[in-house]
């Protein structure tokens, strides 16, 4: 049986650029492309993939999952490091174009908060749109957004 293998490539090529930007907002540019590649490879072997109704949403959720896993893994590996120093160093390396205090504030957000902020301010999605994409409730989106804005206000206001 001949399988049409082009469709997976087309899906990847269609969504990878925006997913990498999304991942950059979550974990910075260094690992963003790898996180997207991991997410895609994982979904490709998942049973939901062949019949998924919304590959894009699945990919966004998986990228968020991968980013959170990577953040946790990094935190475990560097548990003995001083957290403040590490955050400052990462902020400087990952987001050199941002003022250091703003970069540190961004890294102080949880991955979920970062995801909501990125989708809200980059893709101009409404809370309902973000909720649909990430498969969380409207209320959760508003809560993450409110907390993130409060957190960022300290350095941006």
């Amino acid at each position: 049986m001949e399988l049409d293998t082009r469709s997976d490539a087309a899906i990847y090529e269609a969504y990878a650029p925006e997913l990498v930007r999304f991942a950059t907002g979550l974990i910075g540019p260094t690992d963003a492309a790898d996180v997207v590649a991991d997410a895609f490879v994982a979904l490709l072997g998942a049973p939901v993939w062949p019949q998924a109704m919304n590959h894009r949403a699945l990919l966004y959720r998986r990228v968020l999952f991968e980013a959170r896993s990577r953040v946790r893994s990094t935190q475990r590996r560097r548990a003995r490091e001083d957290r403040a120093e590490r955050v400052e160093r990462v902020a400087t390396v990952e987001f050199p174009d941002l003022r250091p205090d703003i970069g540190i504030a961004v890294l102080g957000l949880s991955p979920q908060q970062r995801a909501v902020v990125v989708l809200t301010y980059w893709q101009d999605l409404t809370p309902a749109g973000v909720a649909d994409l990430l498969d969380i409730s409207d209320g959760a989106v508003r809560k993450h957004l409110a907390r993130a804005r409060t957190h960022l206000r300290r350095v941006l206001a």
């Binding site: 997976d8 490709l44 072997g45 980059w122 960022l152």
Partner: protein
């Protein structure tokens, strides 16, 4: 936007400006083991994996899903009678596609309607699917061990569902399952990952139940579960278009079986696709060993599955 919003917007824009290019698709690696506890362990760099390998793995192992049954992942169709369970589903699709380049759409297959029949012999751990096309031709799949990740998977016949592919956007159409066992509602227990997440998502994972009671296209009382997503689709050429996808599941309130699923996808000015899967029969019925015999089939997958130990018998004697 107020000042804070403006500044957050500016901050996000600055952050995302640093985004690197994605890895080329050809540099992604194929999963070695599919749906293991953490299948991401495969590294994507420095591993040669052809696009075809990815597609084959996905199609073979991605045992067709988007199925559902109730709120749990129990085995919905198991029976104390020991008789295999049976589902018959009518599938139909409608494709509209235009390509944005000079090349005409590539098409494969020819039929927009077909009948799916699926048998599950739980005692023998054998699963059979037969697709019958309007001209009477058939395609068969036999999965042994487990329908989700079979130890052995056999196919016979060709997929003849119509599919359209443009060079500048994804393909549309086809038929459920490809080279995999498929049923509208699950015919075996859905496996879970170690963290408890089901490996096959159901309507209750993907959709939201609409209030009240409705009817499916055959007038059967049903609960409606719905999922709708609006967004954009970016082609490989960078052409961005509005995208909307909608999924409606009509679920039998008494049994939890999916009676009907309607799916649609519209990419503005590029393609539209809709499909309908209607369960017309679900019961228990005897099935002979011949039903699961694999003479004349091609073996497309054979591998030990730790989650579902393989039988020691030959394919034709399993469960006998």
């Amino acid at each position: 936007m107020n000042t804070l919003d403006d500044r957050i917007h500016q901050t996000v824009t600055t952050m995302l400006r640093a985004a690197p290019d994605p890895l080329p698709f050809e540099q992604l690696s194929a999963p070695r083991v599919v749906r293991e506890a953490r299948p991401l362990g495969l590294r994507r760099r420095n591993l040669v994996a052809a696009v075809g390998a990815l597609g084959v793995v996905a199609a073979i192992v991605g045992i067709a899903v988007l199925v559902s049954y109730g709120e749990t992942t129990g085995t919905p169709t198991s029976t104390s009678s020991g008789l295999p369970t049976y589902q018959r589903t009518e599938y139909s699709q409608s494709i509209g596609a235009s390509c944005n380049d000079d090349a005409p759409p590539l098409s494969s297959g020819e039929f927009d309607a077909m009948t799916f029949e699926s048998w599950a012999d739980h005692d023998g751990r054998r699963y059979r699917m037969r697709v019958t096309y309007p001209d009477g031709s058939t395609r068969d799949v036999v999965a042994l061990g487990d329908p989700w990740s079979p130890t052995e998977l056999y196919v016979r016949g060709e997929a003849r569902g119509r599919r359209v592919l443009c060079s500048d956007h994804r393909s549309t159409g086809g038929e459920p399952g490809d080279a995999a066992f498929w049923s509208l509602s699950p015919m075996a227990e859905i496996p879970r990952r170690p963290d408890g997440v089901p490996q096959v998502l159901q309507y209750s994972d993907l959709g939201v139940r609409e209030p009240g009671r409705t009817e499916d296209s055959r007038g059967r009382a049903a609960d409606l579960w719905r999922s709708a997503v609006s967004g954009t689709h970016e082609s490989s050429a960078g052409d961005v278009r509005a995208l909307r996808q909608e999924n409606n599941w009509f679920v039998d309130p008494a049994t939890g079986l999916v009676l009907e699923r309607n799916w649609s996808e519209d990419i503005e000015g590029a393609s539209s696709f809709s499909s309908r899967e209607v369960l017309v029969l679900s019961d228990h019925r005897a099935a002979s060993d011949a039903m699961f015999a694999t003479d004349g089939y091609g073996l497309v997958r054979a591998q030990p599955n730790p989650a579902t130990p393989s039988s020691t018998g030959s394919p034709t004697t399993l469960g006998s």
